[in-house]
Amino acid sequence: MAFRLIHASDLHLGRRFANIPQPPDGNIRGRLMEARHASISRIAKVAHDRNAKHILLAGDTFDTATPSDSVVRQALTAMGENADIHWWLLPGNHDNLKDAEPLWETITRDAPANVHALADASAVELAPKIFLFPCPVAFRSSGRDLTANLMDIPATKGALRIGLAHGGVVDLPTAVLTFRPTETVAPGSIILRLATGTDVSKSAIAHIIAAAPNRIGSSMDGAVSA
């Protein structure tokens, strides 16, 4: 039984693009902001077209810790439009748990039933024997590998485990070694590390790019993005 999911990240909703010059009679900043919001429905359409029931957003869904009410509510409403598709929102560095505490409270309290805040590291069973292990960002720059604890989680035989984290894989060889599917602590299991900013790997470990560039010169140059 195949399990299909959509992995996206860094929507940076509400970003103002103040660094992009705009002529007095122009509207590029508004167009970019609107494109960010519109990415929600585009991602939902991808999920719908491919019959994926789960969308994993690996951090920085919001650009700041204090997005305006309209940015938050309009985003949650857009995600709620298709109740069959579940959105899982992980705190990133921009919308980290400490700075954005009210934001995550709002999402937990007010979001439609199919939109879920991953505000702590508790495992979530997405489907029978398919577990999601979120690694939420607690502080803007904690300086430590939030995925480090994943390997200490006892394996459940026959279970499929998905680690969800925000940020680049800075040490790929180590990551590959650490997440080898024959890893002794997890016989028969696989951990997928979904991270931004690295190459797609067709190995047993999936390092997936799913980021939207915010400035030219970022590691995501060339990516088509909102």
Partner: protein, 148 residues
């Protein structure tokens, strides 16, 4: 991403969901490059309104080439959602023909000569040389603009 089960490699399909294209591109120049044509060659032909691009000019170009380049950038830039033209990494070559363009003789030519010496000076700091180079390029541009 599709997961077939524990231990099986996942199948990954990349799906574009963006509306804008962000590009960072380099424009390597040589003293004999046709700068305007070279710039046009690195720019995408289609969809410019939805493209944010930074062009970083590198290498060496004469004052005349740099004036051509600036003119081309000013003409083509407004096609794009955002156009950032960076010449900080572009070195300037000076030849007498360029200085002749400023003036064959007289006060402007004297000033140009002094600035050229400044750019080549071994006693000035790199920062001071850069100031001379910037001033000379500006002087050249002003004279060219006034002549047109």
């Amino acid at each position: 991403m599709t997961l077939e089960g524990p231990g099986a490699p996942p199948t990954v399909e990349e799906v574009e969901t963006g509306a804008f294209l962000w590009i960072n591109t380099e424009l390597p120049l040589l003293p004999n490059t046709d700068c305007a044509r070279a710039l046009e060659a690195v720019l995408p032909d289609e969809g410019r309104r939805d493209i944010l691009i930074r062009v970083r000019a590198t290498g060496w170009a004469s004052l005349q080439q740099q004036a051509d380049l600036r003119q081309a950038a000013a003409r083509l830039g407004p096609d794009f959602a955002h156009f950032d033209f960076d010449t900080n990494m572009l070195g300037t070559t000076y030849d007498d023909a360029d200085l002749d363009d400023i003036d064959k003789a007289g006060a402007l030519r004297l000033a140009a000569n002094r600035l050229k010496e400044g750019t080549e000076s071994e006693t000035l700091s790199a920062e001071e040389r850069a100031v001379s180079a910037g001033a000379l390029a500006r002087l050249y541009a002003y004279v060219k603009e006034a002549a047109e």
